[in-house]
Each structure stands twice: as structure tokens, then as C-alpha cells.
């Protein structure tokens, strides 16, 4: 256990920022109106979903464009029990969880041997299958009408209580993801990004590795799905369209792909851009496109990467740089330490 005084300046700032953000998350709902509260909740859920996608797209370098299929399966699982049967909340969540994990398992089995472009193609197809089922299985999914009559559990019915439930779940999940990406499994995933052949040379079964990746990522996507369906109290095929799968990837790229904090920043930026800025500006999709162009041109590592680069330039400039041998990539904000697993 390192003492606070032994931490580098960068770490201290990171810690302070983290505490500040969590504190803001706890206090904010009391000072904003119901609309902003809803956006905050939505942004948190989107952040979890984006993190689950980033585990694949960022850490393992396997871009998925079908993950809304997992999220959506969980949503439809909850929605089906809630609107077509008289099952209670426990059963709703259980069925939602099973549906989401089943989708992740099937997706994983289908895509575990694919690489590169073929991986993207397969995941697109997976997402489209779920979309196709959602729009044609009228009796189960209600097709375009969606599933109506989903209600939050009574004791967390109010928007503000639900926000705190979401916040708590997201904090726990972030912590879990933090552990996952620093585990040997996490490093093996990064190995996949570097060179799958080498990972295999080192004795890993890369296909199994990808399958586990689908399961872990699918687990968090499933949780995001359950949170989202209770937030909207509604699910329809537009929750599982290709665009819904692409959005978390865009969030990750915008915030900083291959980090955990990046997807969170990206999720907040996109959710607020889409819903809040659109009140004032009619052509918000144009603005969003331009912001993406700017990020790709001037901040390859996303917003988190840009900030971290700027920070390191500042402290290097003052001559008190932490570790000049650190490569820039590894310096990305809460980026992992350059020491390997034991």
C-alpha cells in the first residue's frame, strides 16, 4: 500500500479528479431539473455500455458493431416479462440477464475465430439478426410498436432514486472493469490488439480468449441493458439498430479508445450533445460530425488522451516530469502502469 505522499503528482491529480467527479455525481441531481437528471442517468448507462464495448474495441482491438444486440436482448428479456406476463421484478431481471448473456454467448461462439474486418462483418450481422428478430417477432417483441407497460420497481420509481441506483451500479461495474483490464486476462486482450499470432505463440488459446472477452463484455452490456430498459420503461427495434451499436464505438473514440475513462467522457459528450444541444441547434448531427472530424484530426487519442498529453507537457515543461521514459500511449489518463502482471 503506497502512502499518499509517495504518489506522483499525476496520480494525485487523477485521484482528486476522480473524487471530484464522484462527488459531483452525488450532489448534481439535487441542483438540476428533471430533464438534465434524465440526461445524466442516460449518460451513465451509455457510459457503462461504451466501456463494455471499449473492452473489445479498445483493449483487444476487435471493433464490434453488433453489441446493441446484447444490450437489446437484455432489454427485450426484461420487457417481455414485464409487459406480456405478470412476472415480478426479480423474474424480469433474471430473464433479462439470461437473454443478454445468451446473446453474448452465441455472439462469442460465432465470432471467436474471426479477426480484423471479418470480425466487424460478423458482429454487424449479429446485431442485424437481433434487429430482424425484434422487428418481426410481433408476439414477443411487439415489432415497431415496441414493448409497453414496463415499470421500475416501486421503491426506486422516482427519477432521483433511480439515478442513485444507476450511479451505484456504474461505480461498482467501473471498479470491476478496472480490475479486469489490469488482470492477466486484460493484458492478454491487449496482446490480441498487438499481435494475435504472438499471443498464440505464448500459449494462449486466442479463440477462447475472444470468447471470454465476449462473455465479460456481454456481462456489462447486459447490466447496461437492464438499467436502460428501466430508465426508458420502453424497448423497440430502434434500440438495436446498427446506429445503436455504432454509438458506443463512437463514444469510445471520442473520449479516448483503449482507456476506461475515455468511453465515459465520450458518453457524456454525445448524450448531452444529442439531447441538450439539439434544443438550441437544429443541425446537431452536423455539429457532432464536425466534432468527430476535429477529434480525429487534432486529438488522435480522444479527449482523454488530449488532456493527458497537455498535462504531461505542462509538468515536463516545469522540469518536474514524472517519468520521461513513459511512452505517450501508456501515459493516457488512468492508463495502466507500464509494469506487467506478476
Amino acid at each position: 500500500m503506497t502512502r499518499l505522499s509517495e504518489l506522483s503528482l499525476t496520480r494525485k491529480v487523477q485521484l482528486a479528479l476522480l473524487l471530484g467527479v464522484v462527488a459531483a455525481g452525488v450532489i448534481l441531481p439535487h441542483v438540476v431539473d428533471a430533464f438534465i437528471l434524465r440526461l445524466l442517468t442516460l449518460a451513465l448507462v451509455s457510459a457503462l455500455f461504451a466501456m463494455s464495448v471499449d473492452l473489445m474495441a479498445g483493449y483487444a482491438g476487435l471493433v464490434t458493431l453488433g453489441h446493441a444486440g446484447v444490450l437489446g436482448s437484455a432489454m427485450y428479456g426484461v420487457g417481455y416479462v414485464a409487459s406480456k406476463t405478470d412476472g415480478g421484478v426479480g423474474l424480469q431481471i433474471l430473464v433479462g440477464f439470461i437473454a443478454g448473456m445468451a446473446a453474448a454467448t452465441i455472439f462469442g461462439l460465432m465470432a471467436m475465430r474471426a479477426t480484423g474486418v471479418y470480425f466487424i462483418m460478423i458482429t454487424i450481422a449479429q446485431g442485424m439478426i437481433i434487429w430482424g428478430l425484434a422487428s418481426s417477432l410481433v408476439k414477443i417483441s411487439g415489432a415497431e410498436n415496441g414493448l409497453l407497460g414496463i415499470r421500475r420497481p416501486v421503491n426506486i420509481d422516482s427519477d432521483i432514486r433511480y439515478y442513485y441506483v444507476v450511479l451505484a451500479v456504474i461505480l461498482v461495474c467501473s471498479l470491476a472493469l478496472f480490475v479486469v483490464v489490469r488482470s492477466p486476462f486484460g493484458y492478454a486482450l491487449k496482446g490480441l490488439r498487438g499481435s494475435e499470432t504472438r499471443v498464440r505463440m505464448l500459449g494462449h488459446n486466442s479463440a477462447f480468449l475472444k470468447f471470454y472477452m465476449f462473455m465479460v463484455s456481454g456481462f456489462f452490456a447486459t447490466i447496461a441493458g437492464i438499467l436502460l430498459v428501466y430508465l426508458n420503461e420502453f424497448v423497440s427495434p430502434s434500440d438495436v439498430i446498427l446506429g445503436a451499436s455504432a454509438l458506443p464505438v463512437l463514444m469510445s473514440i471520442l473520449g479516448g479508445i483503449g482507456t476506461l475513462v475515455g468511453p465515459v467522457i465520450g458518453a457524456f459528450v454525445i448524450v448531452f450533445l444529442r439531447n441538450w444541444v439539439s434544443i438550441h441547434v437544429d443541425r446537431w448531427p452536423t455539429l457532432m460530425g464536425l466534432i468527430f472530424i476535429l477529434v480525429v484530426l487534432f486529438a488522435r487519442d480522444g479527449l482523454a488522451g488530449a488532456v493527458s498529453k497537455w498535462w504531461h507537457r505542462q509538468i515536463d515543461g516545469r522540469g518536474s516530469g514524472t517519468n520521461p521514459t513513459r511512452s505517450q500511449e501508456e501515459a493516457a489518463l488512468p492508463g495502466p502502469q507500464p509494469v506487467g502482471p506478476s
Binding site: 428533471a34 415489432a143 410498436n145 437544429d282
Partner: protein, 481 residues
């Protein structure tokens, strides 16, 4: 090195220029709306700081918001003071429309129809009805029910609207209806989304469709017409494979077979289909008197073109769905492919009704387009709201409004005379229409036969009709497998 830097700056400048371009239009709009908000504040709060007036001209968005909030707060206070059926000073209507996304085209027409009404009867942003100031707040749904839900939250919680028009798509209408179903302080009026069951087997709370229709309403009449008046005996359907398609084509099939006809075949294609080659080949092989076809939005043009180019129309006339030859897509069609096509609907821009022609002329003068059903529906909904407020003597509560609308009211809308039944669904004219060329060469739909006073069950008996399930792909009426 320097070259690279220069190139980078050039790129940055280009992107910034695009930003400016994107915002220039918007800043106009935003300017308008903030100016409006400023006006309201002036009108409403006499005791407000006089400094506001000076600011009003170059109000920023943030200021405008603050003004909105202030207004909303006042409304709530007024409501609290006097209880339920209270006289009100202002009525706020929240309008959700798809201004972006795949139904943005119809969304634009709908917005223009709404604005035309406020231009004609008010100052563009407010209308004064017997001392009550009616205003609207427009929000984008992005053609996505999840976004619509967020926008609806904003309308209800931040803008404190009294009435919500929940978008064009059936899915957005359903999602918003369900989310607000528990609230009895917001009235849902839906001139677009037409899901049969919302006024039939699964009625929504505080919901009615003034200026609207039920999805199977006009096609019921069409099925009857096809057998009794046109004399077709065997028909096939080719319809978009989603809820609206099921209800719209189910209505036709049910009424047609019930009258004595036979539906031989049903072809379903995904709503966004653009290449109809394979479906055209299938349709060409059918031995039927006519084909009832429904394709929607951007898919309507390629469908009608394929129908003509594959020569299907030479032997088998097309009986088009209500929106397949709607003015919103007819504008983009070629007269050689679509001229003479028979269709049906509760809207006929060529109808020889004074209200219709007055609206079509006004809309064309304002926008240069012949009015589509989407433009007319918002206009009619506003007529309904104003007429109802007139009748209640400036009082508003969702219950009072619903009760008044479902009473003896008849509103002469551009659709023709409309009244509401006990479930809040309209009783109106259904037109069997033909696409013809107007004097100036533009295409429009002119009625060749009219069913008057059609309710959502026509031609069936209400109670028998409600015993059968709603139309799905599997259930298209008793006589079909």
C-alpha cells in the same frame, strides 16, 4: 514540417467554416425562438424587470431558457390556485416531430403545417383565444422512440406543457403515450401515429386523435370499395412488413373478404426496401384482378416505379395505400409511372371542399409545396385545440378537453368535417382517390368516391370487431388463413 503545419491549419479553418455554415441557419432559428420567448416574458410578466426588454432583442439561448422557465413556473402557480377545471392564461403545446432521421421529410411538412396555423391566426408563435395565449414548443424525436422519450421528459418537466403531440411514427406515439400514461395533467393528442389498439383494445390514458386516424380505418373503406364499387373479386396484397403495414393491409383484407372477395396472396417486404426487383417478379406472376400495395416514405417512389417498369400495371392495377401516393412522396414521382393510380385515405388534397382548397392554397403560397397529409394533420389538430378551448370558455384540464372533444363537436378541417367517437378516434370522410395532373402539371390526389362519416370500426359492428384480435401478420381477418 512547415507545410504540414500549414495544411493542418487549413484543415482546421475548413472545419470551422463548416461549423459556421452549420450554425448560420440555426442561429436564425434560435434567434427567432429566443425573440419569441422574450415576447412572452414581456406579455406575461408586467412586473418583471424592465431590463429584460432591452435584452430581448439579442437574447442568448440561455436567457431564452430562463424566460421559459419563468413562464412555466407561472403556469403551474395559476393551476394550483384554482384547482382542476381552471381558467388558464396560457396553454402550452409540446410538439414532438422527427426533424432528423428517416422520417425527417414528413416531419418538415408537419412543422410547416403547424407554423402556417400560427402565422394565420396569431403572430407566428402565439395565438390568442378569448384571452388565453396558446403557444407551442417544438422538439426533435430523431425518428427514434428513445430520443422521443427524452424530449418528452423535457417538454413535461422543464417546459410544463399541457398538451403533447407525440411525433409521427407509431413507435414514438406508443412510447410517449406509455410513459405519460400515468399522468393526468398532460393530454396526448395524436394526429399522426394511428395504432388501432390505442383507441380500441388497449386504450391509453388521456389520449385522443383529433385530426388523425386509425391505421385500418381508411383501408376498411377501401376494401369495401374494391369489391362493391370497383368489382374486383380476387386481390393480392404487397405491404411493408411492420405494424402499420399489418394494420393498414389487414383492414383492407378483412373488409374485402368480408364483403365477398378473395385475397389470394400476401407479400411482405421490409419497410426500407429500395430494390423491388424480386418482389415485382413475384407480383407479375400473380393471377389476380388487382394488387393492394403499401410502401412507405422513401421506399414508395422505387416501389411505384418498379410496379410500372416491370409492366405489372398493364394487367393488374395497383390499389395504393394511404401514404404510398401521399403528396409527400408524390412530389418526387414521375407522372408516367404513377398517373391514374387509385389510392385511398382520409386526406385528399384535390378534394372539392372549401376548407381543403383554402388550406392547400395557403400552404402552397407559404412553402411552394402542395400540402401533404402530414402538413394538414398538425393544422387540423390546432383547429381542434382552438375550437375546444373556445367551447370550454378558456378552461383546460385533460379530462375536460377530452370530454368536450368527444361531445357533439364537429370541426371543419382540411380533411373535411371531423368529430370524435367515445374512444377519441375520429369519425371522418374516407376518400378513394386518383392521381391526376393539376392544371399546372403538378400531380395530386383527387377523390373519385367518398365514404362519409366513417368511424374506426366501419363497416363492421363495434362489438363483433373488438372480439377479434388486432391485425398482425398472422391475423388479417377471418377469411384469410
Amino acid at each position: 514540417m512547415r507545410n504540414k503545419r500549414i495544411r493542418r491549419w487549413a484543415l482546421l479553418l475548413a472545419v470551422l467554416a463548416m461549423f459556421a455554415a452549420a450554425c448560420s441557419d440555426d442561429s436564425d432559428d434560435a434567434g427567432d425562438s429566443s425573440a419569441d420567448a422574450g415576447d412572452d416574458a414581456d406579455a406575461g410578466d408586467d412586473d418583471a424587470d424592465s431590463g429584460d426588454d432591452a435584452d430581448a432583442d439579442d437574447d442568448t439561448d440561455a436567457d431564452a431558457d430562463a424566460d421559459d422557465d419563468a413562464d412555466a413556473g407561472d403556469d403551474a402557480d395559476a393551476g394550483d390556485d384554482t384547482g382542476d377545471d381552471a381558467a388558464i392564461e396560457s396553454l402550452k403545446i409540446g410538439v414532438l416531430l422527427p426533424l432528423t432521421g428517416f422520417v425527417a421529410g414528413p416531419g418538415e411538412d408537419a412543422q410547416q403545417g403547424l407554423e402556417l396555423y400560427f402565422d394565420q391566426f396569431g403572430d407566428g408563435s402565439t395565438i390568442d383565444v378569448g384571452g388565453v395565449s396558446i403557444e407551442f414548443v417544438l422538439e426533435d424525436t430523431g425518428s427514434d422512440p428513445a430520443v422521443a422519450l427524452t424530449s418528452a421528459t423535457k417538454l413535461v418537466e422543464v417546459d410544463n406543457v399541457d398538451i403533447i403531440i407525440p411525433g409521427i411514427l407509431a413507435s414514438t406515439g406508443g412510447a410517449v403515450g406509455d410513459a405519460l400514461g400515468d399522468r393526468d395533467d398532460v393530454l396526448l393528442l395524436s394526429p399522426y401515429s394511428c395504432n388501432d389498439d390505442f383507441t380500441q383494445r388497449a386504450p391509453l390514458n388521456a389520449y385522443a386523435r383529433p385530426g388523425g386516424w386509425a391505421c385500418s380505418q381508411s383501408s376498411h373503406a377501401f376494401g369495401l370499395w374494391a369489391f362493391e364499387e370497383a368489382g374486383f373479386e380476387t386481390v393480392a396484397t404487397a405491404c411493408a412488413d411492420y405494424t402499420f403495414g399489418y394494420e393498414h393491409c389487414g383492414g383492407f383484407t378483412d373488409a374485402f373478404t368480408n364483403a365477398g372477395g378473395t385475397v389470394n396472396d400476401q407479400i411482405w417486404f421490409p419497410p426500407p426496401t429500395q430494390d423491388f426487383g424480386t418482389y415485382a417478379t413475384q407480383m407479375n406472376g400473380l393471377d389476380v384482378d388487382a394488387i393492394m400495395a403499401l410502401s412507405v416514405g422513401g421506399a414508395a417512389v422505387p416501389f411505384v416505379t418498379a410496379y410500372s417498369e416491370f409492366g405489372i400495371d398493364r394487367n393488374t392495377p395497383m390499389l395504393a395505400g394511404a401514404v404510398t401516393t401521399d403528396q409527400s412522396v408524390l412530389r418526387a414521382m414521375d407522372s408516367s409511372t404513377v398517373l391514374g393510380t387509385i389510392s385511398h385515405g382520409h386526406w385528399a388534397e384535390g378534394a372539392d371542399i372549401p376548407e381543403t382548397q383554402a388550406f392547400v392554397a395557403d400552404f402552397e403560397e407559404a412553402t411552394g409545396k402542395i400540402a401533404s397529409y402530414y402538413a394538414a394533420a398538425n393544422y387540423a389538430a390546432m383547429q381542434w385545440i382552438v375550437a375546444t378551448l373556445d367551447l370550454t370558455g378558456g378552461q383546460f384540464s385533460p379530462d375536460l378537453f377530452l370530454e368536450t372533444m368527444k361531445g357533439d363537436m364537429v370541426v371543419n378541417t382540411p380533411f373535411g368535417p371531423q368529430s370524435l367517437d367515445d374512444e377519441g378516434s375520429p369519425i371522418l370522410n374516407i376518400y378513394i382517390r386518383e392521381v391526376v395532373e393539376r392544371e399546372d402539371g403538378k400531380l395530386w390526389n383527387v377523390p373519385i368516391f367518398t365514404y362519409e362519416g366513417v368511424d374506426q370500426y366501419f363497416p363492421f359492428d363495434r362489438d363483433t370487431y373488438l372480439q377479434q384480435p388486432s391485425y398482425t401478420k398472422d391475423f388479417q381477418g377471418e377469411a384469410v388463413g
